[in-house]
Subunit: 292 residues, 2 copies
DNA sequence: AATCTGTCTATTGTGGATAAAAGACAAAAC
DNA sequence: GTTTTGTCTTTTATCCACAATAGACAGATT
């Protein structure tokens, strides 16, 4: 095999839900636009839809013949890109499995475990190395540096510098900057979630990322924004991994966020700094507690 | 070809200079240690030395037969690793050649220009992307974001945060930390260079990197230290590229460094902050001046 | 007893091949 | 005249093969 056709499969699945809601499909360029793929892929999707008697396709006419059934969809395992699969497998191995710092990482072994070629694994490791968890010995193996206490401290140190600076910048944004509207929406979601926190606390992780990313983006600094990837990935897997007291922890974070949001809306730099520091402080503690 | 044997060639060249100074060579492991290569490579080097009648090699006896001549060395073009060659070509293209922001980067084209396979170019681009000068469009090309004014401003903003923090940390290092000794040596080199600045100002670039890296390292934060790579590469190529007023600029920077070093040695946080800010300010101006 | 060498194996670095996906261009349709 | 489609070309993503390099182990040497 050369390339996995996950782009096609994923877009095909998304096209099916589109197809369920309409009686005809739009033009190829338009479809490509809404699915985020090229016309080549759109045509492959249409061809398959026709083959499955889902649509009748004659040039500009694409009439829907029947509702898609569950069996029409590609299984989700096949729609994830290779990079996502590699990341998941790798993170599971280093976070869940006994992964002592200093352990060697073997490209070939990883590739075999995932069922892929070495090139993809290699490229993943190169990309991943910027997260500071692994390190390359040239002409030799990779070394796992590990998700250690030091790592968490170094990460949060930089995070705090960046977020304080971004938050300070946020209050200087002009009145008509779209960030204020987005902040208002995020605030509303916070209130909804907090009102039904017992059932919805698991959705917090995603909201957390959305909020902090918005703050970081107001720095208008690519290095600060890019660094948020590191934070996001660490917290993402950390939330999946460490579920102790999740409800309580998330409820507290929601309230801290609301304080922080109110401070931003007040445009008062002092209030912002205080609310931001308080939240970062408790986020740091939470992270540190989960490390042995 | 599969792998370029640049490790062998480079180590061989370095072995020749070693050979010029001794009448016999040490054991294989010891040689490997001092050349920084494995025994496999050491044996390949010894085999070649024997073939060229440079040494007589019989198990533990490795007697030098003659001085190496210039023709024995591999030409320097062959000793650079592929990654270095790719980096140089690429930087020349984007700094020197007309490289408008938004330009597309083509892996295959680059590979052909350098005379290498696409895999190596691809891996280089992935590694290089962390410098924030290029960006990937998945399943499509890379986009050059360009060495613009914005780039320089964003870079220096983070640099200033990191360096101020590192410098503040520096003064808290214990008396016996090796950094103090290294600082003293760096200071001496500064004085020497300044005394003969007309002839030696071109050596400043390297010294600059050595000094600032020492400061950044005292942060004990991998993200801060890693970020110095970005600064180093930008300034490295910037120095090569923009030679206008180099003598005067470097002389001024040398003096600022000496102030900064004196401040560090005083252990007075206020003095350090002031000297550091002054120097960073002028470094920023220098960088910005070179951008159209 | 420690170190070195001969030999063998394992792993990385790199080029090349190929399917998937993107994208260009002209003719066709509205 | 604009948008759409049919067709073709270009480029990326991925696998695989093989030489360079690292590294392990046992027997040889001091």
């Amino acid at each position: 095999m050369a390339k996995q056709n996950t782009v096609f499969k994923d877009a095909f699945n998304r096209c099916l839900t589109l197809l369920a809601e309409n009686s005809a499909l739009p033009s190829e360029p338009e479809l490509g636009q809404s699915l985020g793929v090229s016309r080549t892929t759109v045509r492959a999707i249409l061809a398959r839809c026709e083959e499955l008697d889902l649509i009748n396709w004659d040039k500009r006419r694409k009439t829907v013949l029947r509702r898609p059934e569950p069996s029409d969809y590609f299984p989700t395992e096949e729609t994830d890109s290779l990079a996502e699969r590699i990341e998941r497998t790798f993170m599971r191995r280093i976070l869940a499995g006994g992964a002592e710092p200093g352990m060697q990482i073997n490209e070939l072994e990883l590739a075999r475990e995932i069922g892929t070629g070495t090139t993809s694994v290699r490229e993943f490791l190169i990309r991943f190395s910027r997260f500071g968890l692994i390190e390359k010995r040239p002409n030799s193996h990779w070394v796992l540096k590990g998700f250690t206490r030091d790592f968490a401290l170094e990460l949060t140190e930089v995070r705090e510098m960046f977020e304080l600076r971004s938050a300070a910048r946020f209050v200087t944004l002009p009145e008509d900057d779209p960030a204020w509207e987005e902040l208002k929406q995020i605030e509303a979601v916070h209130r909804d979630m907090l009102a039904d926190v017992d059932n919805r606390y698991t959705e917090f992780s995603e909201l957390d990322e959305r909020f902090h990313l918005l703050v970081h983006k107001s720095s208008s600094n690519r290095f600060i924004v890019d660094f948020y990837d590191v934070i996001a990935i660490v917290f993402h897997y950390h939330y999946q991994w460490n579920k102790a007291n999740a409800r309580q922890r998330n409820a507290r974070a929601l309230e801290e966020h609301l304080d922080y949001i109110a401070a931003l809306q007040s445009r008062d730099p002092n209030q912002v700094e205080q609310a931001c520091r308080r939240h970062l402080q408790s986020a740091r503690e939470t992270l540190l507690q989960s490390i042995p």
